[in-house]
Amino acid sequence: MTTGSLTAGRRWTARLPRRHVPVLATLVLLLVMYAIGVSQYRAFSNVQVIFNVFIDNGFLLVVAVGMTFVILTGGIDLSVGSVVAMTAMVSAALLQNGLPAALVLVIALLIGPTLGLLMGCAIHFFEIQPFIVTLAGMFFARGMCTFISGSSIPITDGFWTSMSQERIGNPRGNFVSISVLIAFAVVAVAAYTLAYTRLGRNVYAIGGNPQSALLMGLPVGRTRIAVYTISGLCSAIGGILLSFYTLSGAPLIGIGMELDVIAAVVIGGTVLTGGSGYVFGAVLGVLVLGVIQTLITFDGSLNSWWTKIVIGGLLFAFILLQRLIGIRYK
């Protein structure tokens, strides 16, 4: 499929492969938005503004990476927001009961992938639509949150607070948190997996055409279950990062996060029918959302709901762009 799309790209323009256009458009949009910010507000040019976007959205970045895997196979995972909340909630509750931090980390990181694995199995073996299965997963995880506790649980554990307050930076005072480094590590591993491993190739092949992938002898079932497990793992890591960020577990946190994540992945150029897209695009998508929020915060006169309207508008623009340049692998 790679060669096919490349030759198709040549017809359109000699240099630019067509499937890179959405990602590049997002990059241009991001730069334009940053330029607007810098020209309007003097404080915007401070490097810390960018670092803060990363600090505030580190968990979203990780979750978006997991969602990219699922969407690349042509599926969807609605459970991510609830799994993030459940992971944070479980860690907070276990820490409150006095378990050692290392054990809590392991348990918290196991729950998400297990749920993902179960959902993947239901999708593959029983042929129920991903939408419905992950919807049930979303209900389940959100229900577990309130089952654990109806109100938010503070985290006072030493390891968690040190992870939350540690600042890595240069002498001039600009810094990032450890969460950002973890997020970058996840992005790097995911990008490598998608681009250079057998699993990654399988993911693209299934998204391109599951029937052909099966006829080619690719392990369709295993890959499909794997992507939901990966998404669950990423949500679990996202949940840990969120609990580092907020130092608490709250039952209602992350409601609607799945929409933000899907929006970020689409804005980042991943096609929802699967088969085309990059982890780098998801990073750009999350940054676009982050910069929109920062711009609205800097403005001060705009209300928070404008964020949603702008995100909706951007979604529309990018989907239209995908239609116009005619990415249709199916």
Binding site: L118, F125, F126, A136, F140, M144
Partner: protein
Amino acid sequence: MNDVLGRYRALTGQRLFWPAAVLVVMLAANTIYRPGFLSVEVKDGHLYGTLIDILRLSAPLILVALGMTVVISTGGIDLSVGSVCAISGAVACVYISQQPDQNNLPAVLTALAMALGIALVLGAWNGVLVAVIGIQPIIATLILMVAGRGLAQLITEGQIVTINSGPYRAIGLGHVLTLPLAILIALVAALLVAAFTRRTALGMIIESVGGNAEASRLAGIRSGRVVFLAYVLSAGCAAIAGFMMTANVSSADGNAAGLWVELDAILAVVIGGTSLAGGRFFLSGTILGALIIQTLTTTVYAMDISPQTSLLFKAVVVIAVCLIQAPAFRARFGRRRSGAPPPSTVPDQPKAQVPA
């Protein structure tokens, strides 16, 4: 013996059997837990009782699910219904709150017409995106789902608009002929949709578009127009449901009104036996599905469980119903389709097997 088995299989093979069985089991469980559950009494010429409450509260969901059934049977999905509910409720409430006399019937009707009109425009927007531009339905309606919440908050300016209007309140809480008005509205809507789809060729046209849009276009059906109308209908139903939700609490909250109703509606449709892949649709199944969901919610409230935890039960029910209906699952555990080996066990066994 063989005859009994055959009858059993014919009965469980009915598409409405399992949803109906789930509903009956839930009602029975409620009656055991609280013996007064089934009692219905007449007060001031109105019927009162838990059963009536369930009917009244399920009216918005039935409406939304009706529109959703038609959209899903065309092979699409409409995620924006919750936002449309919020927008229509917000428009109506904001208009009424600006009137000097909120009980003025013409003013309330103007508000309803205005909100319904806006909702139809939003439905047309969805329809154009899907039918004309050809965007995937799930993503086309995701745009309005995200942006619509923002719009609803824009209309209410982030406040919860409270109104005190008798006529508007009646949409949610009023009674006509001893029955709640809300359930009558839902019933009329259901009958209208059923009449249009089952007494004319429209239903078959919708199913053929859902089965294969390209083939039905070649057969001379204007697929685009059918799909477009499905989204407009869905938005219209959502708008009326939005009126009911806001009338129930006499206030419009851009954030909370209709939150997650799209998921409940999709669930109701799936429980009712309509495939998410499009094609054949079952309106009666959808209504049954909506009643199941509302009964579950009411049960959870009545048993003093936190409303959020009800999601846990919902997850179990969704998975159970979907598994029972999944052909792959039946083939593996039920062996009823193949017919050759007699069913050794009751195919009811897998009910609580998969937690999520």
